[in-house]
């Protein structure tokens, strides 16, 4: 794996506003990389500094080993799919796709036309070339934007929330198509999204951003199972938080967890914290369980009372109060044959396992 894009100590100020803070980042060749974060955290700004539409206030941006300072957008080996798609309304679909080919003096007209047709083919728009660009649906525009960028064979394709304008079905379909496309062309994709599910599904690695900083950079599974801190844990999926007191840190970690008692976890379950003293542990709803009548478990149990029931069809989410914890625990249960949906107020036993705990900063 060779590094393609390197950012070192990148800062960006808009007047008084500090939009990017000390960003260090390496993105590899052929990688599907995602920038994930809440609205306004600086994802678009970071993408635009890579594309060359924003200059950096300090720090280094290098692509393919070349410092990009002072290199304008039109001379960078990147292409972008804009959030609004930015399809030229005065051109046809084919003219849009061919827009960037003007300078390719090595290609004659027929060769260019073949390239355009291939590109349209690749995104599933064969035969649409003569259409006026303004007469396209959202999904089709997005495909035109993709074809227009990919035809230039950039080293990096930058995508700024390309799926956010599509409905849910279309979005899921395009997610799969984008992944297929990325594998097919082997170009590095950098995807900006505020949809954690999208990021988890599509990416090789994800950088979670908060307020201009990278909170954590990891692959999807690490990010979900071993979030570094509470902010990341809260942003990605649901997580129950319990107060804990770290008592001893050796090869394993001894701690006392509110409501669950004394227990021991491995060092791997604590990505950051290594000190004794007060701390927070997190546990995902689907790693907890409810012991239904007639079922048995060899895992640990704690008594609880159902506080809230949310029925989702395939799943039911319970809020269960256990002794010694102020916030109820959120538990996700698969609805299976023989499992009734419990009523609010029902006394239950909560199944838990210390292997599912993660110790947070």
């Amino acid at each position: 794996m060779t590094a393609l894009i390197t950012l070192e100590g990148v800062n960006k100020h808009y007047g008084d506003y500090h939009a990017l803070r000390d960003i260090d980042l390496t993105i590899n060749e052929g990688e599907f990389f995602s920038l994930l974060g809440p609205s306004g955290c600086g994802k678009t700004t970071l993408l635009r500094t890579i594309a060359g539409f924003e200059s950096v206030s300090s720090g280094l941006v290098a692509i393919g080993g070349k410092d990009m300072a002072g290199v304008p957008a039109n001379l960078r080996p990147t292409n972008m799919v804009f959030q609004s798609y930015a399809i030229f309304p005065h051109l046809t679909v084919a003219e849009n796709v061919a827009f960037g080919l003007r300078k390719r003096g090595d290609l004659n007209k027929a060769a260019k036309q073949t390239l355009v047709e291939d590109a349209l083919d690749m995104v599933g728009l064969d035969g649409y070339g003569k259409r006026a660009a303004h007469a396209l649906s959202g999904g089709q525009r997005q495909r035109v934007a993709l074809a227009r960028a990919l035809i230039l064979k950039p080293k990096v394709l930058l995508l700024d929330e390309p799926l956010s304008a599509l409905d849910k079905k279309m979005r899921e379909q395009m997610q799969v198509e984008l992944m297929r496309l990325q594998r097919h062309v082997g170009i590095t994709f950098i995807l900006v999204t505020h949809d954690q599910e999208e990021a988890l599904v599509m990416s090789d690695r994800i950088a979670v951003m908060f307020e201009g900083r990278i909170g954590q950079l990891a692959d999807a599974e690490t990010l979900y199972r071993r979030p570094r801190n509470r902010q990341v844990a809260e942003f990605i999926g649901k997580m129950n938080f319990l107060h804990a007191d770290v008592q001893a840190v050796r090869d394993a970690i001894d701690l006392e967890v509110q409501g669950l008692g004394r227990l021991q976890i491995t060092a791997e379950q604590s990505p950051e914290l290594r000190d004794t003293g007060p701390a927070v542990v997190g546990i995902r709803p689907e790693t907890l369980g409810i012991l239904f009548d007639g079922e048995t478990t060899d895992r640990k149990l704690v008594d609880g009372v159902v506080d809230e029931v949310v029925y989702y069809g395939d799943m039911t989410y319970y809020d269960v109060r256990i002794q010694g914890v102020e916030a109820p625990l959120n538990i996700a249960m698969k609805n299976m044959i023989g499992r009734p949906v419990l009523d609010v107020g029902a006394a239950t036993k909560v199944i838990w396992d210390e292997r599912a705990l993660v110790l947070l900063k």
Partner: protein, 290 residues
């Protein structure tokens, strides 16, 4: 009856458009029809002979003076349009692209300042600037660049063009500005992203998308300048008179309303024909665009 009119969709529609419709009828259609009718009549000293005749039109075709005047009018209008639009575009571009959003309305406001004074005063102002003893000539003589006053800037076609171009500048700036404002800025970034420089982006994206505004500006300037007679009267001298001056002369000084009317109709037909050709050419060119 009244109820019936106000209750039906159609009735209400008719009711709604009738005031402007009547207004247009009285102030546009009737005068136009009158002019049209007059052009087929003849002046007989103080009376008007209302027998149908094409003599007025025959005279216009046969006497070279009218054709020459019409030609000169079209030439002046074309020059004014060209100069105005060419000068207006950079101004509109600057305001749209380089002025901070919160300052734009202020700039537009400043652009309309010439309209705060009467048209006549603005024309006289140019006389002061361009005249024999005007600002330009005295200035140039004082710094010794010329010995004699420049004569090509007053009482001729050039003076008319300069004055009209100034008068119509805001009319050209505004539609171009609106067209530029409507351009999605991400399109310009997309063009650069696809490898085009800022310069080429202007020609491949900005200009084509601003074309509707430019067309509007051309028509807005071209059509009224053909009919303008104040500026040529005051600035044109003997060689700078235009068709509108001739129409005025026919109606007032020579008391020949029918010939004046025929001239007006001919001028109108010319303007309409040229505008239509222009619009059609543009539609051709802009084909396939929303």
């Amino acid at each position: 009856m009244w109820q019936k009119i106000t209750s039906s969709e159609k009735g209400r529609g008719i009711l709604l458009i009738s005031p402007p419709f009547i207004y247009a009828l009285v102030l546009m259609a009737f005068p136009l029809a009158a002019i049209f009718l007059f052009s087929f009549w003849t002046q007989d000293f103080m009376d008007v002979d209302t027998t149908f005749t094409l003599n007025n039109y025959r005279e216009i075709v046969e006497k070279p003076i009218y054709g020459a005047l019409l030609q000169r009018s079209l030439y002046v209008s074309a020059c004014v349009t060209l100069v105005t639009v060419l000068l207006a575009f950079p101004v509109a571009y600057f305001v749209s692209f380089h002025v901070r959003p919160e300052r734009k309305s202020l700039w537009l406001f400043l652009i309309t300042i010439p309209f705060w004074t009467s048209y006549l005063i603005r024309v006289f102002l140019w006389k002061v600037i361009l005249g024999f003893n005007g600002v330009i000539n005295t200035g140039l003589i004082n710094i010794g660049l010329i010995d004699e006053p420049l004569t090509f800037i007053l009482y001729n076609v050039n003076a008319v063009i300069i004055t009209l171009a100034h008068a119509f500048a805001p009319f050209a700036i505004l539609p171009i500005f609106v067209a530029l404002e409507k351009i999605d800025r991400s399109l310009l970034e997309a063009s650069q992203d696809l490898g085009e420089s800022k310069f080429m982006t202007f020609f491949r994206v900005t200009l084509p998308l601003a074309m509707p505004g430019v067309v509007a500006a051309v028509l807005i300037v071209f059509i009224p300048t053909i009919g303008d007679y104040v500026t040529p009267e005051l600035m044109g001298g003997a060689g700078g008179k235009l068709i509108a001056n001739m129409i005025q002369t026919q109606f007032l000084a020579l008391n020949n309303a029918p010939l004046g009317a025929a001239l007006a109709i001919v001028a109108m037909v010319c303007v309409t024909a040229i505008s239509l050709v222009f619009v059609l050419l543009n539609r051709r060119w802009l084909k396939g665009r929303s």
